[in-house]
């Protein structure tokens, strides 16, 4: 038994590392325990075929605040960008692709009215997302037993909405709970524009475009603007290199990171967390135990429901986290041709989503535990920005594909995987004719694989669906949104806590600040 740390952080995901760096800077003796042999959690670069590497989880850096990058001095710790502020191209089978670059929408035959409408829409959404981003940087206010800080936070949120101006305040309250299908149809004439916007609203969720909450998840994604990103970025060396920089920052501030040190359970004595037991049987003690794992894994797997109150357990069981996104990694002998796309734009974020109706139809089978017949896809060719990921002249495609439910009927057998991969390839062929013949190796990771690779329950990226009932003071569950769990000394710092998932890092930072504040006031 060792007792040399104040704080144990379970999991070296990006939130765990941010939390570690923040606490270490405040003078805490922090140890981060990671089951894998690399830090980063779902921000990881992995070799999937000899000579070919890819970001095996998240493949863009999009929401991690630029201010946090500077605060942690990640550049000093090795973070370099291969590409920044990528535009999005909505690929069309007929070659009439739509390119969205910030507020600018461009396509050969896109009408001036829609171009204008998109520019206005972009600015309007950015103003709403900025309000949300403001709330993301603070702990969520408690509504019951609130203190002055909670009331101030609530006041700030109200004030931020009010200062949008009368018309925009009304509009955000009108659309906040709407579905993206209706909103996009209301704002745009062009089918490509509608579906490109809608795709961004459902990406990483289990919702279709007609589901309420999808406007909220679109706003959620667009907080990226407020965090200083003009579009997705790609680190040199993939997301694993970003994680390495975070780990270096945490280590430089005094945190210890132990790899291949998986935590088997959290030790609870008389309602207080006193430490953890590793897979190896080793016991580590600390007065503060912070979990970067998702709420279900933490509370059911590591703590055990028997140590908790039944009502709380019921809420944790109710967290919706049904993984729906798969990843496909392709090793290519040559760059695929994309007819109609300017070669200079091949390195953009590419989206394959035919229409609103097509998106709806792609989602429908998932309700019945089937995968999409015609999946929708977000992909990038990172080797165009960072050739180090593949042998000279060769390329890699990293694709996020929906909808592939974690609980597929009959399970994800080899046959089911082959069938789904064939359907993805068929979709890719429509915009990249002949791509099949370029593939030398491929890897499909469906939600159960994501669950086992990253330890996320349900294989859900965000550690829980992004929706109004699971955000802010409802995340992870109502009454426990301020990172402290109902076991003394146990905290949650991952994406399952406020403000949520994506590679954002704010859950980790807010959690650390809450712990520091609590000690200061005690």
């Amino acid at each position: 038994m060792t007792d040399t740390h104040d704080v144990i952080i379970i999991g070296a995901g990006h939130n765990g590392l941010v939390c570690a760096a923040t606490l270490a800077k405040a003078g805490r003796r922090v140890v981060v325990l990671e089951r894998a042999d690399r830090p980063g959690g779902a921000a990881r670069t992995r070799t999937f075929a000899p000579g070919y590497s890819v970001s095996s989880g998240a493949h863009f850096l999009n929401q991690f605040p630029v201010s946090l990058i500077e605060e942690l001095q990640l550049a000093k710790h090795g973070l370099r960008f291969a590409a920044k502020g990528l535009a999005t191209v909505a690929l069309q089978a007929d070659g009439r692709h739509l390119r969205l670059d910030g507020a600018k929408a461009a396509a050969t035959d896109l009408g001036a009215v829609d171009q204008q409408a998109f520019a206005e829409f972009h600015a309007e959404i950015a103003s709403y997302a900025a309000v949300l981003a403001g709330a993301f940087g603070r702990r969520p206010p408690r509504l019951v037993d609130s203190d002055w800080r909670d009331r101030l936070g609530l006041l700030k949120l109200g004030w931020d909405i009010r200062t949008l101006g009368r018309d925009r305040m009304r509009e955000v309250l009108r659309i906040g709970l709407m579905n993206i299908h209706d909103l996009a149809s209301e704002r745009f004439e062009d089918a490509r524009l509608r579906s490109a916007v809608a795709f961004d609203a459902v990406l990483g969720t289990s919702m279709g475009p007609r589901a309420p909450n999808t406007v909220m998840s679109y706003l959620y994604r667009r907080t990226a603007d407020a965090f200083g990103h003009a579009g997705p970025s790609i680190p040199v060396g993939g997301m694993g290199a970003f994680a390495d920089a975070l780990a270096a920052a945490a280590t430089a501030r005094g945190a210890e990171i132990r790899l291949q040190a998986g935590v088997a359970s959290i030790v609870v004595h008389e309602g207080r967390a006193t430490g953890v037991v590793l897979d190896s049987g080793e016991v580590l003690n600390a007065s503060t135990v912070i979990s970067n794992a998702d709420p279900r894994t933490t509370l059911k797997g590591l703590v055990g429901y028997r140590e908790l109150d039944a009502g709380f357990v019921r809420r944790v069981e109710g967290i919706r986290m049904r993984g729906m996104a798969a990843k496909l990694h392709l090793a290519l002998d040559a760059l695929p041709s994309i007819p109609g796309l300017d070669a200079a734009n091949a390195g953009d974020r590419l989206v394959l989503c035919p229409s609103l109706e097509g998106l709806d139809e792609a989602m429908n089978p998932s309700k019945y535990r089937q995968f999409s017949a015609e999946p929708v896809i977000e992909l990038c060719i990172p080797t165009l920005h960072d050739p180090s990921l593949a042998p000279p002249g060769k390329h890699v495609i990293s694709a996020v594909v929906q909808y592939a439910p974690v609980d597929l009927e009959g399970g994800w057998t080899a046959a089911a995987r082959a069938e789904f991969e064939a359907r993805i390839m068929a979709r890719l062929e429509t915009v990249m004719p002949g791509i099949g013949s370029l593939v030398s190796s491929s890897e499909l990771c469906v939600a159960p694989d994501i669950q086992s690779e990253f330890g996320i329950h349900g294989g859900h990226w965000h550690h829980g669906e992004i929706s109004v009932d699971q955000l802010l003071m409802m995340r992870p569950v109502v009454l426990f949104s301020q990172y402290a769990m109902p076991i003394d000394g146990l905290w949650l710092c991952g994406a399952g806590a406020h403000p949520g998932g994506g590679v954002m890092g704010l859950a980790g930072r807010n959690c650390a600040q809450e712990i520091i504040r609590k000690r200061a006031s005690a």
Binding site: G271, R306, L308, A310, F312, P486
Partner: protein
């Protein structure tokens, strides 16, 4: 599989009948019925005084079949129940019965009930409220099976000084050696009777549990055997007098079950119901433990007291005033004139710190005589023990009357 009683769709009657209904309906001279959790139940069959004195002087029979009953079984049943209850159920050995409460996360009482340890890894939980959903949520992480057996178990409370003699005469030999809160099975016809020395009267008494098929044979055998011991069927009204006299609280009357409360602050913790003895912090985790520890550290909001009220007018629904008669410090939850103890008892929930043992308070009593309402302020003294607690309640072997 839940065996809830159901009616055919074409049957217009909205209420269920208990297995004893044919006998009770025949005996119910007043035809005064009420709805107990969906079952037609007798409120009174005869003059309430006759029924009450059957409890205290002879043998009273009350049909408790509508009481909610859950069968809990499986290797984790004890661990599950220990997480549910605030008391340590491991101390309820096989063949014993325990009274207890269970709370929500906020440490507020959901319900009280009796727990029968009927066999290895086999229990019966009897409660006032339906709580199958809460039991299922509490069972997450436990290997346990929970079945609602309300409709498949027939049960009678047989209470009063001659109850033991009645059961002996019925052929339950050795019943007098059954200790309070103990249970034992007796062969009966082609099945068996489970008898527990429990009840809601504070008197010598038993509860008999059997299959619905044996309900009417049980009734007939019981009344044949009890004829010389002045056996009498009773309704809920007489029972209510007896339970207040004995100082027993009732869900829905003396506290709001936490899951049913809508308004903030209306529910009560075990401490606020005077049930401190049912909370065991040393047994490990149970739902509400964290909140109750916090309450113990910071103090309770309310105190539950038994009051000895001067005069003979029940302090029903009264406000309780502090010593100066100026400030309302609480309200009465149950009140009745107790005929055996000859005292006017009220149970009340008071704001802290009022209600210390022996403290003198005032009850504001309104009563009406021929449409004229009168208000009196009556002295109300906080009592430490119930007014009715006879030795026969606890004596083993049970005394013969």
């Amino acid at each position: 599989m839940n065996t809830l009683a159901t009616r055919p769709a074409h049957d217009p009657r909205a209420m269920l009948e208990t297995p004893f209904h044919p006998r009770i309906a025949a005996a119910n001279g007043l035809q005064s019925w009420y709805n107990w959790k969906g079952y037609v139940s007798a409120e009174r069959l005869d003059q309430i005084e006759f029924e009450y004195f059957a409890i205290r002087n002879a043998t009273a029979v009350f049909d408790i079949s509508p009481m909610t009953k859950y069968r809990i079984e499986g290797p984790d049943s004890e661990a599950f129940l220990n997480r549910l209850f605030t008391r340590d159920v491991r101390k309820i050995r096989e063949g014993r019965v325990g009274y207890g409460v269970w709370c929500d996360d906020a440490g507020q009482v959901q319900d009280d009930g009796t727990l029968f340890h009927t066999g290895p890894d086999l229990w019966r939980l009897c409660s006032q409220e339906r709580c199958l959903d809460w039991l299922h949520w509490s069972a997450l992480g436990y290997d346990v099976r929970i079945t609602d057996e309300t409709a498949s178990v027939a049960a009678l409370a047989v209470q009063g000084p001659t109850s033991c003699s009645t059961l002996r005469a019925m052929g339950l030999s050795g019943i007098e050696t059954l200790k309070p809160f103990e249970l034992r099975s007796f062969p009966f016809h082609d099945g068996e009777l489970m008898v527990s020395r429990t009840g809601f009267t504070g008197d010598l008494g038993y509860e008999i549990w059997t299959s619905t098929a044996l309900a009417l044979p049980l009734w007939d055998a019981l009344f044949a055997a009890g004829e010389h011991f002045l056996i009498k069927p009773i309704g809920s009204a007489a029972l209510n007098i007896a339970r207040i006299e004995a100082g027993f609280i009732m869900a829905g009357a003396d506290f709001v079950p936490a899951e049913q409360g809508v308004r903030h602050g209306r529910s009560r913790s075990p401490f606020e119901l005077g049930l401190d003895w049912l909370v065991d912090f040393d047994k490990g985790q149970f739902t509400g433990r964290r909140a109750l520890l916090a309450e113990r550290a910071s103090g309770s909001r309310y105190r539950f007291v038994k009051l000895d009220v001067e005069g003979n007018k029940p302090a029903t629904n009264s406000f309780i005033f502090g010593a100066g008669q100026r400030k309302v410090v609480g309200t009465v939850t149950s009140a009745v004139w107790c005929p055996t103890a000859k005292s006017n008892v009220a149970m009340a929930s008071l704001d802290m710190p009022y209600g210390r043992p022996g403290e003198e308070l005032w009850a504001e009593i309104y009563y009406m005589r021929e449409l004229k309402w009168t208000r009196v302020m009556a002295r109300a003294k906080v009592m430490e023990t119930p007014v009715f607690d006879p030795p026969r309640r606890r004596q083993t072997p049970a005394p013969r009357f």
